[in-house]
Amino acid sequence: MSIKQISVFLENKPGRLQKMTGVLAAHEIDMRALSLAETKDFGIARIIVDDPFYATNILKDNDFIASMTDVLAVAIPDEPGGLDKLLQIFAAEEVNIEYMYAFLGAKDAYMIFRVSHTHSAETKLTNKGLRVLSDEDIAEI
């Protein structure tokens, strides 16, 4: 199962990111992971939250441009070589990664991948025995 990531348009100016986190905080949305892609004058905040549908609506209500994107979340053991083993599978299965970022759980590390063809990639990875997390899994972390 792929999960929903929220992508938020932000101007590259002091205080803009905080405005977003302020809205999320006010509505008690729990962020699991955050990554920023930026250019000189704008950026995109990519966030993983406990309730993506609710959070997206809240952001839109507060005049943010926010959209949901399907990404793959994979749990890997938090130990040396953990990511490498995973990426070997990506390489072997020719899964192209557009971008990725990571966050740490209590015992595992979680990798978030945006890939070119989410569904076929998901099938290839699960066929190799990898467990791809669902939105429910994320909510429980």
Binding site: S7, F9, S67, T69
Partner: protein
């Protein structure tokens, strides 16, 4: 000692000038009435006939002409002579329906060039001078006008046109040019480049510059004068009326003398349209006095300025206009090019952006900058930074091809551009004019 191109006219007494204007005005009104149905209709609507115009005191009875009229009558609606008698057109830089095309008979060109010749002589030019004309040649009036004026004065004319800065400098140095004609921002750029190349003011042969076609500040004048080691003179004009040379600065550098034997100037309140007394600030209105092909009566320039009849130390008697403070409509002059917010709006909408935008004009290192801030929309947003950047770049390209000058696009968050309940404020002009 002050020199004049046509001393009898430039230093005529007020009485002589009024007599001349009265005589010319009566003829010009009759010419328009007889040959320009568009304006005749306006006069008829106002109940005015040529018989009502006996002197310049009757000028107020005539209807106004605006840029909107010029657009409505485009292209031939205001031409006052058969096309076989016209020998040339010139045009403003407008790239939409806003373009203004002006027509000339040979007589009109001669008078226009005479006006430019007066400006060159007022800047100290003689037939001993080498006059480099670095205004654009072509549809733009800058190059052709000063080129003609330079010929009339008898200067050795160097028609470099604009651009190719290093070649400009080569000609200035090799030919020992003494007078430079171009936009003030280009003069500043030439100065900067020459400084980089190691030329100090004492190495540069130039002694005077005639700079116009865009608004510029006193600070900029001083900068240019210092860098190039020259005296910098302002020149004013509009394509509609002929081009540069409608007014020009003299050695006193305290306002520009309007060539009153060819143009009557009035200052009006742009709201009430009433004529304001001398010294008031308001919109400048011109009436041409001896144009054949494109006569304009009471043409509203949208330029806001003041007029003064105080005696000028140069000896010229023609009324002086202060540098225009700004335009009463929304046209911007950026790097000498006319830019209308509506053109920018058209491009934005064509590219799928909302009409929420702000135009920020500034001057960095003596060059005008144009920044268009536009709000991001949910429709245009994607999770892909590269895709958004591409779209931003293609918008910049579309703006450049529409406006003819480079514009920077900044994408801003929704609802960050102030909404207005009345007439929207679309422009922030940070240039210190």
């Amino acid at each position: 000692m002050e020199r004049y191109y046509q001393p009898d006219i430039e230093c005529a007494s007020r009485e002589q000038m009024i007599a001349l204007q009265n005589e010319k005005l009566v003829k010009q009104v009759q010419h328009v009435w007889d040959n320009v149905p568009y304006y005749r209709k306006k006069m008829e609507e106002k109940g005015v006939t040529p018989d009502d115009i006996k002197s310049i005191d009757d000028l107020y009875k005539l209807p106004f002409l605006s840029k909107a009229d010029l657009r409505e009558a485009y292209p031939y609606g205001l031409v006052g002579v058969p096309l076989k008698d016209c020998v040339r057109i010139q045009s403003t830089s407008g790239t939409t329906g806003k373009r203004v095309v002006s027509f000339y008979t040979q007589h009109d060109i001669d008078l226009w060039e005479e006006c430019c010749a007066r400006a060159i002589v007022a800047a100290g030019g003689t037939n001993e001078d080498v006059c480099q004309v670095s205004y654009g040649y072509g549809l733009f009036t800058g190059g052709p006008g000063l080129n003609g004026g330079s010929h009339k004065v008898g200067c050795l004319t160097v028609p470099t046109s604009s651009g190719n800065t290093d070649r400009q400098i080569m000609f200035i140095m090799d030919l020992q040019a003494t007078i430079l004609c171009c936009t003030p921002s280009y003069a500043a750029y030439l100065g900067e480049r020459m400084k980089e190349m190691g030329y100090g003011p004492e190495d540069i042969p130039l002694k005077a510059g005639i700079f116009g076609a865009e608004a510029w500040s006193e600070e900029m004048r001083h900068d240019i004068e210092k860098t190039l080691g020259i005296k910098a003179y302002d020149i004013y004009g509009l394509t509609e009326l002929s081009g540069p040379g409608v007014a020009f600065e003299c050695s006193a550098q305290k306002g520009m003398h309007i060539n009153e034997d060819h143009f009557i100037a009035e200052i009006i309140d742009p709201e009430t349209l009433e004529v304001l007394p001398e010294g008031s600030q308001g919109e400048l209105v011109f009436t041409s006095l001896d144009k054949e092909a494109f006569p304009l009566l009471r043409y509203r320039t949208r330029d806001i300025c003041r007029l003064t009849r105080e005696k000028c130390s140069c000896g010229r008697t023609h009324v002086r206009m202060a540098k225009p403070m700004g335009r009463s409509d929304d046209m911007l002059i950026i790097r000498g090019v006319n830019v209308f917010p509506s053109q920018i709006e058209t491009v934005l909408i064509n590219q799928g952006y909302a009409a929420n935008y702000m135009i920020v004009v500034d001057r960095v290192n003596n060059t005008d900058t144009l920044d268009v801030q536009v709000e991001m929309t949910p429709e245009l947003f994607t999770d892909n930074v590269g895709e958004i950047s591409e779209r931003q770049k293609s918008l910049e390209e579309a703006l450049k091809s529409m406006l003819g000058i480079k514009a920077k696009v900044s994408l801003v968050a929704p609802k960050t551009i102030t909404r207005s309940e009345g007439k929207a404020v679309r422009v922030i002009d940070k240039r210190k004019i």
